[in-house]
Structures are given as C-alpha cells and as structure tokens.
C-alpha cells in the first residue's frame, strides 16, 4: 500500500507539486495521467526516494520514506523515465549488478532467468546495453525494476519507444503483474491507461484534478444522461412519441443523417435508464433503430477537459466525494457540455444549411 499525503515540491520559485495526496491499495494498477510537466515524474521520484519533497509524507506499507529509506526502497521497483542503464555493460552484467545493488536474496540464476523470460530479453542477454534498440533498453529497464519481486512497482511511461507489438506485450505483462503487485504507472497515452489501469489519477499543474475508477470516472464526471438515437421513422412523430416516455426530459432532432433516418438526442433524468422502454416503444411502432450510443465523456475528452480548463485545477474531482460536491462538479460540467452541444449544433446546422444550399444550386443547374 502506498500512501501519499500533501506532497509539495518546490524548485526554486517554481511550484512543481502542490498538495498531492492519494492512496493506492494493494493489488491495484493505478494510472498517473497528465500533460508534460504536470508533475508525474516528480511525484514518482519522490515516492521512490530519488527526490525529497519540500513538505508532505510518503509511506509504503506503513514505513515512511524519510525514516526508513532503505526499507522502503527495498519494497519498490522503479523504472524512471529514462531507464538507468550503464551503456558499457552487457544485459547480464547489468542485471547481476542491480541484483547485488538491491541486495536481492532470491536464488540468483533462477530469478534472473525468470525475469528475462518475463520481459523477453533472453536473446539479448549477452549483448552490450549501448548497442540495444530503445525497445530493448526499455525492457531491460523493466527487468531491472522487477528484480527482487518488490510488492510495489512504479513505472514512468513504461511503453515509450516500443513498437505496437511490444506495447501490447508490456501491457499484458503489467496487467499480469497487477494481480499481485501494486503498480503505479504514468502515461500520456490514454488508451493505454484505459486498457491497463483500474484507477486513474489525473494530475495537472502539480495538483490532482481527478481521481477515480477508469470506468466510472468519465461517467461520473459527465453526468450527462443523453442518448444519441438514430432511427428510421417520421421525424416529428418519433420526437413526440419518445417524449411521452417516463423519465425522458427532453428530445430533439439532430437532423437527417441518412435518407429517411433521423438522429435524435434523448435526455433522461439522472439515474434512470430509458433504453429498455425506448426499445419497446420503437419495436411497437415498427421503427428500426439504426444506432444508439450514450454521450459519456471519452477519456480523451475528460483528459483535455481536466487539463486545459483552469476552472478544474482549483479542486480535485473525486468519484467517492459526497453528493453535494459531486453536484457542484456536475453543474460545472453540464454548463460546459451544454455550451459544447450548442456550438456543435450550430456548426451542424450551418453544415446542413450549406448542404441544402448546395443541393438547391445543383437542382437549379439542372
């Protein structure tokens, strides 16, 4: 278990971290998300004892990094942003050196072999690190972090420089490690975080701006219960019929998307699921449903939203926060989303207008 409390780090007048707090339970994979310079690496460097915080505390399994640095360091395997590799050593020499440096007590030959096969570096085992490609260096870096089977793994952008196949391999490795390790990984590749992590901590300008489960964070933050429905039906009639349904707040058309097929926006009350009654209605009327999707923020939207808008850097958004606070965040988000929708609608309208105009022109040509 890793517990970080009120971490503050100052580089001269530059405040790199400002009151960062989070707790990571055993056996979870947490993604650290943020733009460049947000404070991800600084946080990781402090947790691993490479840097010291200006204030705040870090405890790993109840041990404070300042009081028992060597004990804590034994519990952590760390892959820094730039793998700390000695170019003038072979992989074998390097791993043996790290094995001794970390005072690992597991049977040496067997343990090294295991780690090499896990990270798939057996075929470069006797090669000089300086001659390895970036992908292999990254893997040697991961192998180094795994030495001694530390219960906590901290990986700073572990898949940087790898090819797509390797990325998938490393991700599945991390996922499998996550079963019996606590893993904190940083990334600015959102799909990676979404694929691997159970929980996301978004950090921006040295502050935690969001913290929650991968699945729930986007949902909780958006709180925008709208469905986008595409169906083949008379437009006006369909809008009226759906508006009659229970829990439906508002329905409006987004225009004709295919010949005879209209797209509708269906807004429902929060915590109500209108998909079933909606389906039943359409089935009764014999209107084929062509598409149905919800408008939850994707992780990309969420990320951009959290890291670009200044209003969100003020206080962290947590999915486990009390209802009142959530509601405040919701309110804020709803405003933004409504604005977004309006602007996108306007754009669409303009588009359709120009399309229509174009068609008219075409007709007149004939």
């Amino acid at each position: 278990m890793v517990e970080v409390k009120n971490l503050t780090k100052r580089y001269g007048s530059n405040l790199a971290l400002d009151g960062v707090s989070f707790t990571v339970e055993e056996g979870t994979i947490v993604g650290f998300l943020g733009p460049n310079g947000a404070g991800k690496s600084t946080t990781m460097n402090i947790v691993t004892g490479y840097l010291s915080a200006t204030s705040g505390s870090v405890t790993v399994f109840g041990k404070n990094i300042l009081d028992e640095p060597n004990e804590v360091k034994k519990l952590i395997g760390y892959l820094p942003e730039l793998p700390p590799l000695y170019q003038d050593m072979t992989v074998k020499e390097y791993l043996n050196f790290m094995y001794e440096l970390k005072k690992v007590s597991l049977p040496r030959e067997k343990h090294l072999k295991e780690i090499c096969s896990l990270t798939k570096i057996e075929n470069v085992y006797n090669r000089l690190i300086g001659n390895l490609s970036k992908g292999y260096r990254q893997r040697v870096g991961i192998a180094q972090a795994l030495l001694g089977n530390p219960p906590v793994l901290i990986l700073d952008e572990p898949t940087v420089g790898l090819d797509p196949k390797q990325i998938i391999e490393i991700r599945s490795l991390i996922t499998s490690l996550g079963r019996n390790h606590t893993v904190i990984l940083s990334s600015h590749i959102l799909s990676e975080v979404q694929a691997v992590c159970q929980r996301i901590i978004v950090i921006n300008n040295g502050k935690v701006v969001a913290d929650g489960g991968t699945d729930t964070l986007a949902h909780d933050l958006s709180q925008d219960h709208r469905l986008i429905l595409r169906l083949e039906a008379p437009e006006r009639e369909a809008v009226h019929a759906i508006r009659e349904l229970e829990h439906v707040v508002d329905v409006y058309s987004l225009g004709e998307k295919e010949p005879g097929v209209f797209e509708l926006s269906v807004e429902s009350t929060p915590d109500a699921d209108v998909r079933k009654p909606l389906f039943a209605l359409l089935a009764r009327r014999g209107w084929p449903m062509m598409a149905l999707k919800n408008t939850d923020l994707t992780l990309e939207d969420l990320f951009l939203r959290l890291t670009s808008s200044d209003s969100f850097t003020q206080e962290p958004v947590r999915s486990e926060e009390p209802e009142e606070i959530k509601a405040i965040h919701r309110g804020r988000l709803n405003i933004d989303i409504e604005e977004l929708i309006q602007s996108s609608q306007e754009e669409e309208e303009q588009e359709t207008q120009t399309e229509e105009k174009g068609e008219e022109d075409h007709e007149s040509d004939i």
Binding site: G12, G49, P69, Y78, P80, L101
Partner: protein, 235 residues
C-alpha cells in the same frame, strides 16, 4: 558498496581510460628509475624518483576520477543507485575505492623497477616502501578530492580541469609558503601542503601525523561527496 566498487572497476577497464592511466604511470615510473637510479648507478637516489613521481601522479589522478560521479549524473544512472537500498556514503565509498584501486594498481606496478634494481644492487626497501605508502596516501587524498569535484558537475572535462587546478595548486603551495611574509600563514600552508606531508615518507619514515592527515582528507571529501549527492534530492 561492493557491487558499486565492482561495477566501477569494470567500467575503468571496459574503456581505455583505466589501461591508459595505469600504463602511463607505470611507464613514467620505469623511465624515472632508468633516468635517475640506473643513470647515476646509485640506489640512494630512489627518493628522487618518488618526489618527481609526485607531480605526475597529481596530474594523472584527475583523469582517473573525472568520470566517477559526473557520469552517473549525466546518464541518469544515479536514479538506479539512489533508489536502491544503499546509503549515499556507501555509494561514494564504492566509487572512491574503485578510483583508488586503479591508482593502487599503477603505484604497485611502479614497484617493478625497484624489484629489477634489487637484482643489480641493494636498494633500501625501507625507503622504497615508505615512499610507496606515502604515494598511496597522498594519492588517496587526491582521489577523494577528485571524486568530490566530479560530483559537482555533469561534465567530465570540467571535473578533470577542476581537479587538475586543485592538484596544481597543492603542488605549488610550497613555493607560495616561502613567499609569504606572515608567519602564521606560512604555518597553515605548510600544514596543508601535500608535499611537506609527504616528505617524511620520502625519507623512509612512517609519520603518524601525516598518515592521520591524509586519511582525514579522504574521510572529509568522501563525506562531502555523500552530502553533495544527498543535497541533489533537495533541489
């Protein structure tokens, strides 16, 4: 500490730098023995060999120590060392001993001409060993200073030039002392001077106060380097 010592020593001999420094010093030892002892046909001049070796050692040591701490900082490998369960003092000691060991090999090889001379004459081994121990002591002190200076910069060149400047200053200090008018300043300079501390050993004497002096210099600079390493965490 042992792991770091082994790694650093391997690094010295994985690149030409270790071989070059050892070979250069061993060659100069040979040349000095040839030029002084063989040429004059007298083993009583062995102290002269060692006193001229003093300057050469002071010049070669900066090259041995220049990469010691700076390289790690530049290649970010210090992250591996500082996040491993070892204290900063043992990191620095590992580095210090590996640099010192290179110098130790060179100095020990410098005994070979003396062995050769033994077949031809009867040199005083008391004087030779006294000089040898003295050489190791001031060398160790200089190595610790070099390691400290290399921890101040990420550039090997700056570390080498900085250490070289300090070495030259220490070498020329005695000339400085004679030019000073104030008596207590002269006393201080003489007290610090590596050369005057080394003189008893050149005569084959084992001067305890000088031994303590050189060991203290080593301890102080190893400590300072460890503090410097530690301080990097705070800024």
């Amino acid at each position: 500490m042992r792991a770091i010592f082994k790694r650093e020593l391997r690094a010295y001999f994985a690149s030409p730098i270790g071989y070059v420094c050892v070979a250069a010093l061993a060659a100069i030892y040979g040349f000095e023995y040839y030029g002084v002892v063989m040429y004059t046909h007298s083993t009583s001049y062995i102290s002269y060999v060692y006193s001229s070796m003093f300057s050469f050692c002071m010049i070669v040591i900066p090259i041995i120590t220049m990469r010691s701490m700076s390289d790690d900082q530049k290649n970010k490998t210090d992250q591996a060392l500082l996040t491993a369960p070892v204290g900063t003092v043992s990191i620095v000691l590992g580095k210090f001993f590996s640099s010192f060991f290179v110098y130790f090999i060179a100095s020990t090889l410098g005994l070979l001409p003396a062995v050769a001379v033994t077949f031809l004459g009867s040199p005083s081994w008391g004087v030779i060993l006294g000089n040898y121990i003295g050489t190791l002591l001031y060398g160790g002190a200089m190595v610790s200073i070099g390691v400290f200076i290399s921890s101040l910069t990420v550039s090997q060149v700056i570390a080498a030039i900085g250490t070289f400047a300090v070495a030259v200053f220490l070498m020329l200090m005695d000339n400085l002392a004679s030019g000073l008018s104030s008596q207590w300043l002269t006393a201080i300079v003489n007290w610090i001077s590596f050369n005057s501390r080394y003189t008893p050993f050149a005569q084959g004497l084992f001067d305890l106060s000088s031994v303590v002096f050189f060991l203290s210099v080593m301890a102080i600079f190893v400590f300072l380097t460890a503090r410097k390493l530690e301080s990097r965490r705070w800024n």
